[in-house]
Symmetry: C2
Subunit: 449 residues, 2 copies
Amino acid sequence: MEFQINKEFIAYVSKLFAENNTKQVINIFKDVHHADLAELFNEIEPELAVSIIKILDTDKTSDAIVELDEDVREDILKGLSSEEIAKEVDELDSDDAADVISELSEEQKEEVISKIEDVEHAKDIVDLLRYDEDTAGGLMGKELVKVRESWTNMQSIKEMRLQATEVERVYTIYVVDNNDVLKGRLSLKSLLTTSTKALVNEVYSTSITSVKVDDKAEDVAKVMQKYDLVVVAVVDEMNRLVGQITIDDIVDVIIDEAKEDYQMAAGITDDVEADDSILELTKARLPWLILGLFGGLGAAAIMGSFEDTLSRFPILFFFTPLIAAMAGNVGVQSSAIIVQGLANDNIKGSLWDRLIKEVSLSLINGLVLGCLVLAYGFVQDFQILTSLTIAISLVIVIIIAALIGTFVPIILHKRGIDPALATGPFITTSNDIFGIFIYFMIAKIILPI
Amino acid sequence: MEFQINKEFIAYVSKLFAENNTKQVINIFKDVHHADLAELFNEIEPELAVSIIKILDTDKTSDAIVELDEDVREDILKGLSSEEIAKEVDELDSDDAADVISELSEEQKEEVISKIEDVEHAKDIVDLLRYDEDTAGGLMGKELVKVRESWTNMQSIKEMRLQATEVERVYTIYVVDNNDVLKGRLSLKSLLTTSTKALVNEVYSTSITSVKVDDKAEDVAKVMQKYDLVVVAVVDEMNRLVGQITIDDIVDVIIDEAKEDYQMAAGITDDVEADDSILELTKARLPWLILGLFGGLGAAAIMGSFEDTLSRFPILFFFTPLIAAMAGNVGVQSSAIIVQGLANDNIKGSLWDRLIKEVSLSLINGLVLGCLVLAYGFVQDFQILTSLTIAISLVIVIIIAALIGTFVPIILHKRGIDPALATGPFITTSNDIFGIFIYFMIAKIILPI
């Protein structure tokens, strides 16, 4: 039976376990990639996943455990003893090992660490657990290949052979001095194209990008993106090489951030997915809806305070949803552009320039839309003052909504708050209220009340 | 004067050119990274950038040109002769070279290609220009290091030395047979840890991931993410190795897609940025606003057709913005979750399961919000039937909005249309209209009219 995640396959594997046919189970999973194994584990009952993990090689299962969804991993680790977890962790690179261990309870953490066979590995992990997960230190791995500037190429190759057995993949050969201070890198190319007797000192390149161990993960992502890096060295305050961050970990950071901004814009908090439980989804969605509800009740209260105007010009009523919707749409557009600009450090020029630009932009949009409204009013045979009230309100509401959408994120950003908070329901709700208020104020001025 | 992008620095460089002091210009930019140079070019007048490019080493300027914003690059290339462009392109990896050349006019394309000195390089570029930019072929570079399975380690090292001079960075050493068919990869580790006399055949690993040259870019991105690849081999229909794609190009694909989804959700078409011209921004924003306007006018027309109801219960008016806003918010939440799920192939289970889940979820949210409305009505001393009308409408509108937000993207996806289209203004506008219509229908049923 071929490996293909579906009901038949899962039933087949369960049956093999019921029959105690572990040999066949091992056989099925022989050539399966750990990422595919993780995909399977995400789908099946944790008990079955635990059974599979117990009989397969830790070499493969450990990598699969790293790839799991967090909640699935939690369930599966519950089914393993501390000793078994330690064996899995022993196979992992230090950064992945630290990630897995950091999710355990304080008590189990110590127990697992004490059972890791490779003491150096355990030390590395304990070291990494100290760092905040949103910093370079929290992302880096300790495994790397380094040579001393005083060595010859030959000596380097000899030492690298020893180091390479510990390292999954050699991205860069770092060059350090006797105090482990990062000096540069030795390219495979120059190692291949220079004499084996040449000194590292003579052939290494000093052009190397490093980040500090306390740098924020998103700043590391920016550096790696800007300079198209596959790997970046991490140094401490004394410029000593302490680890490296590879691009795959940074891709995750980038994707998570994009996902977070998108979800905030859509009015969802927490990192939820379509397959999460109803409770989790409600927790992520309801707060924003309640905010929207209060906004709507606020709008109702504002309309109530203009009851005189409304009772004489009930037609105004019909256009409140229009005004509110346009205020919301414009606000979301402006805030999305600013939030993306802020994320890419792309907002240049003074606030004044930006003000002028947003006003011009929304004036153009507003005038086009205002004319359309006038045309609609003409066709529908509205009183000219009524049409004018709606059209003028629309122009002014659009300008103000654009300004709110632009400057609220900028202000939040300046105060160190995530500007993405100001997209989505927050901006639509406040713009709804402002929009309706402005609409009736203008009606009061223009119409003969 | 140190390199730091600001007005003083730009003025200083301009002054140096005015004084014909090119030596000092070269000196300033000596140690500047090409990515920083690109950042500078994005900021200054194209003419000044062209002057700088003409006197600096093509080694550095070519890489900077690749990193530029597309519109800036267009302006700068206009200032260079075909011969000068050919010189820049000569320095680039084939994939970047093809990207730059593909932006030129048909006429200039041929002229530039004919002036590239390295004929092999020119052939590679012409080859790459054939592929659609959204496929693996459009992303791959031709430069790579490969060895034959019949060679010894020693022979491999010798051949690799030759190949490596052409290759910027060696990610993987590919193993091919005599017909260039991809067999596997030779890890640096096994090259370092086995005898120089060993045959490649005996030491190479067959575990290698490849994509087909016609695979879609987003599918390549998924594969590279899933298997945490830094580089992936690209093969043709006969499994012959034709190129490789590196992770930095894929990061761009991933970011572009996230950005596009985000912008669509915010009601912005095209890839605009905060610093684009007012015309470009208007073109990206106005169409969605016009859609919103028609939605609003539609809502007004619907309300007009319920004039009887409204004239007897004018208080209903006050809550139309609330109903419309909630319908919009719920629709955006549901669609965002589904769009992300579809993007990650994360939507499992039958449509029926999803229906049940969305209805339960929105029933919970709706009941909570409905109770809040009843409480508000009680405090404000509304007639009980009025409060009930608003609360019941809210529950039903939320359920229907959630269903529209969930199933419209799923249907679009099944028909091969980007589901992200159904987020943002499209869903808010249609939900506004539905919401208001349902609200008044329910009012008509409940209230004694």
